[in-house]
Structures are given as C-alpha cells and as structure tokens.
Amino acid sequence: MYEGAIQDLIDELGRLPGVGPKSAQRIAFHVLAADQTDIKRLAAALTRVKEQVRFCVQCYNVAEEDSCRICRDPRRREDAICVVEEPKDVVAIERTNEFRGRYHVLGGAINPLEGVGPDNLRIRELMARLSSGKVTELILATDPNTEGEATATYLALMVKPMGITVSRLASGLPVGGDLEYADEITLGRAFEGRRTL
C-alpha cells in the first residue's frame, strides 16, 4: 500500500477491465515519471470522451452527434442491418469493406449466468427499427462464442417471423474467439460466406 494520490490512482486503474494490481502499479508509476504535458493530454482525453461521446440514437454506436457517422451517411444502405455486440466490432467490420449497410450495437450478449437477458440488451430498440418495414436483411455478427451464438439464436427466433432474411457470419471464424481479434481477411470471408438461418 502506498499513500494518498498514488494509491488512489492505483485503485482507480485496478478497476479498469484487464488491469490487474501489478499492471495498475506499473501504469501509476509510469504516469508519475512521465512528462507533464503528456499526462495533461491523457487527462483531457479521458474527460472529453465522457463529455463529448454519446451513443447514436439509431444504432447505439459511439457518436459525437445525435447520430453516428455511419447513420448520417446517405450512401449507406438502409435495407440491411448488421448486429454486433460492441462498438469495437463495428470498427472491425468496417475494416473489411464488405458491408455498406447500417449497424445495431446490442451492448453485449445474452449471458444468463451473469444475469444478462434479452431485456438488458438493446433488442427492443432493434425490433422497433425492424418494424419500420425498410429493413429486408439482418446480419448477425455477434462473437463466435457460446454467448454470441445464443444471442444470434434468440434474435433469429424473434426476427424470422417478421419475414426478414436473417443470416449469420460464416463458420470460418474460430469458435471461442472474440470478433475484434479476427483479421480483416478472415472476417471479410466470413461476411461474404454468411449463411441464411
């Protein structure tokens, strides 16, 4: 245990995802040793992200205005929606240049063991978008792991009776992985080879 400000910083860092006590300590002492202007910039970036970034009112991707860049782009198709778990998955799919439609970010995956059910995700909001009748294809790009598959199964169960074509990314993606770790070529291929459910 350290005293005062340094321990406060270690505690705060330790609450971040993927940062254990040792890493928290390493980062805290790095901050202490670093240049004042670098740390000012980091602090400003942290503050700005909470002040300026919000969630797009249509797709729940991160946005700096009411709507995200993709939803504001008139060249993007309105008849296809790709469903992902997190905003970082939008970035991964955009890198493939395979998809010209819009997205819907669920905010996670169904995980009963963690108490996350359909009502805890933005599924009701997705259903509202689909009920407009404009959308003819829904692509399920949740992670290729158990929770992602279960979420895709649930969405297919809900959406197929609406007469919308529902497809799932091809199984070329390794099971158990995170979508964000797939390289562009693998992910692009999975997109092209998506199968209708």
Binding site: G18, P112, L113, G115, E149, T153, G176, D183
Partner: protein, 251 residues
C-alpha cells in the same frame, strides 16, 4: 521456486463458466469428476489462433490437464469428449435451461477441490439429455434441480408431512415447511397444488420419464414454479439464470 515443475493432474470435466481475463485469456470454472470444482486460467484462448479456445466453451465435456498454481491452476491440455453446448446452441430455450443447470452446479460446490462425483454425474447426465433433445428441456431442468437439491439434503417432502411425518398423501404444500404438510401442521399461506403437480415432482425426482412426459402443460408450469420456489428458499442468493429460462417450446 525456479526450475521446479508444478504438479500436473488430468481429469474429466464439464465447463461450467468462462470469464474473460485481461487481453486474451480466460478463467474457466470446471466441475471435474475427481477433483470437484476447479478454477483455472486458460492462456491466449481468445486469440483466433488458439489451439483449445473452442473446446473450453461453456457446457463442453472435456478431458483436461492442468498444472497446479499458487492461486489459480493453469489449463495445459484439452481434448474434447463431447461439445454438448454446440448441440443445443441453436435452441434458445435449451440453452437457457443449460445455463441454470451449470449455475446450480457451481452454487452447490462452494469449496474448490472438494470431490463432488455424484453432482458431476448428475450434471453431465442433464446436459447430455438437453443435447439429445429427446425429452422436453424444461422437464430435464426441473428434474435436475430437484435431484441436485435432494443430493444436497434438501429434497422436498412429497408424500408424508414435512413437519411431523404423518403418512400422506397430503394436499397442502409449504415451501418454508419443506414440502407437503398434514392439516395440523399446515402453516397459514400454504399452497394447494393440483395433485398431478405433486405426482410430477415425484416422477422427476425418481426419473419416471414416461409419467413425467404424460402431464399437461399447466401441471408442468405449476411444478416449475414450486421447484424454483423451493430452490430459492434453500439458496442464499437467487440463481441469476433461473428467471431467464425461456420456457417456450421450440417451433
């Protein structure tokens, strides 16, 4: 100590839970045949190049080798015996039933490394039954909950009075009293289930599937309600997954 090899052990196991750790690792909770419940780190499994990431998915039946660690063990090898989860992932109601099964298995093994072979067998049997899809998923779940509770010493009284032992059959059912009660022991607010519901609970407890499957949907629903109430009464904290079980029959 540098250079000292950590002891290895190998066992059959069911993957109960998988949690992310750091950038690419996972912590898996296993229910093993010989070693009870074990938590272990699986390194690099979220990278798409991982050799055994796919085998360490929830509900998998695996043959696993771990090395003992000071705080957490590490998974060093995994062979798939039966990827049970993959057989019901396309059936959402069964997936939710399986989630409740593994959550209860974890809850009933509060101490790591305490052998729980009967619970292991029961859990494996239930997950297999869900994967085989020959029986209704919700009945498989309720049978598991009842049997796991009775293994833990919390079997509900279904025939003789839970309080005084007066021979049954009795009509009143009270969760706090521990099951059916005679008229003298019946507490205020006791329920009066359909006798067929009590018969269904008995059938599930002993594994009489012919009788269990021959019941009406309303009786199965009432039975599920009593099983859940009885379970939640005995557990300190509610099972998170139980309210999320989807009891729709698949189309």
């Amino acid at each position: 100590m540098p250079g000292m090899r950590r002891p290895l052990y190998r066992d059959d196991a069911l993957v109960l839970r998988v949690q992310k750790l750091g950038e690419a690792d996972r912590i898996v909770t296993l229910l093993t045949r010989q070693h009870g419940r074990v938590r272990a780190v699986a390194k690099g499994v979220r990278r798409t190049t991982s050799r055994f990431g796919a085998r360490l998915e929830p509900f998998s039946h695996i043959d696993v080798q771990c090395s003992e660690g000071t705080s957490l063990d590490s998974v060093t090898q995994v062979e798939a015996r039966d990827m049970l989860g993959r057989r019901f992932l396309t059936d959402y109601p069964r997936y939710t039933a399986a989630s409740a099964i593994v959550e209860l298995a974890e809850r009933l093994t509060p101490v790591e490394r305490e052998p729980a072979m009967r619970l292991y067998q029961l859990t494996l049997g239930a997950l297999r039954a869900l994967a085989d899809a020959e029986r209704p998923g919700t009945l498989v779940l309720d049978a598991y909950l009842l049997r796991a509770m009775s293994q833990a010493g919390w079997a509900p009284a279904l025939r003789d009075c839970a309080v005084c032992g007066e021979p049954g059959p009795h009509r009143a059912f009270s969760v706090p009293s521990g099951g059916v009660t005679c008229l003298n022991c019946r507490p205020p607010g006791a329920a009066h289930p359909d006798p067929a519901t009590l018969d269904l609970m008995s059938a599930l407890l002993v594994g009489d599937w012919a009788a269990a499957q021959d019941t009406e949907a309303a009786v199965q629903r009432e039975c599920a309600g009593f099983v859940a109430a009885h379970l939640q009464w005995h557990l300190e904290r509610q099972l998170r997954s139980l309210p999320l079980v989807d009891r729709r029959e698949p189309a």
